[in-house]
Symmetry: C2
Subunit: 304 residues, 2 copies
């Protein structure tokens, strides 16, 4: 894994919806698929904003689209833990009143971000783990699905390769996330993942942790991260980037600084997307690839 | 619950070990017991530092002492979730290389902070949840204990009162934590809790979350928080205070600012302890009480 430290940013028109499909090293021939999946999800989220909807609703919609896309390591398409089962992590936060919801180590639900959103709306607690997350989801009317509907042939093959020692890394890539700023200036962020291939049972990464994988604050901006989750947790990357933006840095500047610190302070690689309080969007990565797409009132852009 | 915004700080001599026994509202007649429990734990941790040991070993020792003390809501003495069972959360972090370990929603282990420490030492993952945390603990040689050995008559009575509607709040108070700076300038922090009385099954608070309840960075300082955990998570209090100290603020200044922001931004109350990179210690609270004690090479202080 190289550390190219690529970053990019722009000024959004009207509203902004930015998604990522995970930092990693996607093979060249599959890169157009990943970029197109991000474009589709960004458009779905942007439709919410174009109609005057909230950043919170928009990031949930975009991440749902990515969870449902079997190409990505979230919801359908999630990677397998060392026991061969799926354990999902997701979080969502809105920046106007700093409400947040999250689930971790959750099995057999197709849309973890929607359960995280239900926790945010409920408001009693922020984060639910494992069996308790399942009970909360069932109580809110979410339906358990057979695990085999979430597991793709690609996820099984990647797991088998890592177990056989022929897979280069336990890092799946393909975590998904979205950030948005709506027409009223409200911000939100959401992140969802299956975690690492062959992770230990019960391992929780940065994606469901407010301040590590996800953060939103209208006085700063909204952030979603992807990459080596343990490093993201140890550096508190999303909270760090939010505070950098609160100090006046643009989304792209804050993320470039955070991803460089991720390398220099904890020796980890990854990427992140953000939109700041002024509506500037940006991303940064120190991995070979990170698929992304942005949509605003004037058009769209994206790549990998 | 009043919001008195009390804070205090001092300059440590040689080394510093500071503990808290939870923000809350301890009844007047029981306050001396809580303060004395903190003094005992701070002395135990300080012995490690006096002998040239690391801040990491010292905070683990101090938090172990508080977990074993049935007076506090951590390890033995933990409060009960809505199903009448114990679910424990703990984390530990050292500030020299930003290593961290944590467990959440863990049942039937007497010393969660020691399991968090084992995760830190192992290094593969940072955070383990529920069943997976149990598997990790058993693999590392920790022994499950009968739940009834962890549950005190006071915890049962408090749970019964909340369930009967005669307890004023689900907030147990009594979370414990420690921060330290060793003779080599290394910092560390640890936090452990049973969470909230009558919490939903699987609810995870701030205590096991790096950047919410616990953070350590030798370039900033070390922090452990206590109070309304959901608010601590939403504001990312430990990471916020670390970045304030990295900018030059003293421990007491950083915590006063963070606890005030906890009130103004998310309407929550709580407290925190910290030691900064220059060895200044401090605490702040917006609750009626927070037991605490500090020991350095020159002596000790404490109260509630």
């Amino acid at each position: 894994m190289t550390a190219p430290f690529v970053s990019r940013g722009g000024e959004a028109q009207g509203f902004a919806l930015l998604v990522h499909g995970g930092a990693g090293a996607v093979a060249a021939e599959r890169r157009p698929l990943h970029a197109e999946g991000c474009h589709r999800a960004a458009r779905a989220g942007a439709e919410v904003l174009r109609g005057g909807g909230s950043a919170l609703d928009a990031v949930e919609r975009a991440v749902r689209a990515l969870e449902d896309d079997p190409l990505f390591n979230a919801g359908t398409g999630a990677c397998l833990a060392e026991d061969g089962h799926v354990e999902l992590d997701a979080s969502i936060m809105e920046g106007t009143s700093l409400r947040a919801g999250a689930v971790c180590a959750l099995a057999r639900f197709a849309a973890p971000v929607a359960i995280a959103r239900a926790a945010l709306d409920d408001g009693r607690h922020v984060l639910y783990a494992a069996h308790g997350a399942r009970l909360f989801a069932l109580e809110r009317g979410f339906v358990e699905v057979p695990e085999e509907t979430l597991v793709t042939p690609a996820a099984r093959a990647a797991f088998a390769a890592v177990r056989a020692g022929t897979g280069a890394t336990g890092w799946a890539g393909g975590t998904v996330g979205a950030v948005a700023r709506d027409l009223a200036g409200g911000t939100a962020a959401a992140t969802s993942t299956g975690g690492m291939i062959n992770k230990r049972v019960g391992r929780v990464g940065d994606s469901p942790l407010i301040g590590a994988g996800t953060y939103a604050d209208d006085d700063a901006g909204a952030i979603s991260t992807t990459g080596q989750g343990e490093g993201m947790i140890r550096l508190g990357v999303a909270r760090l980037a939010a505070l950098t933006m609160a100090g006046g840095a643009s989304a792209a500047e804050a993320l470039r600084s955070a991803i460089e610190a991720l390398h220099s302070r904890v020796g980890a690689t990854g990427g992140a997307i953000a939109v700041d309080r002024r509506g500037r969007w940006g991303w940064a990565r120190s991995t070979a690839t990170m698929s992304w797409a942005v949509v605003d009132a004037a058009g769209e852009d994206g790549g990998i």
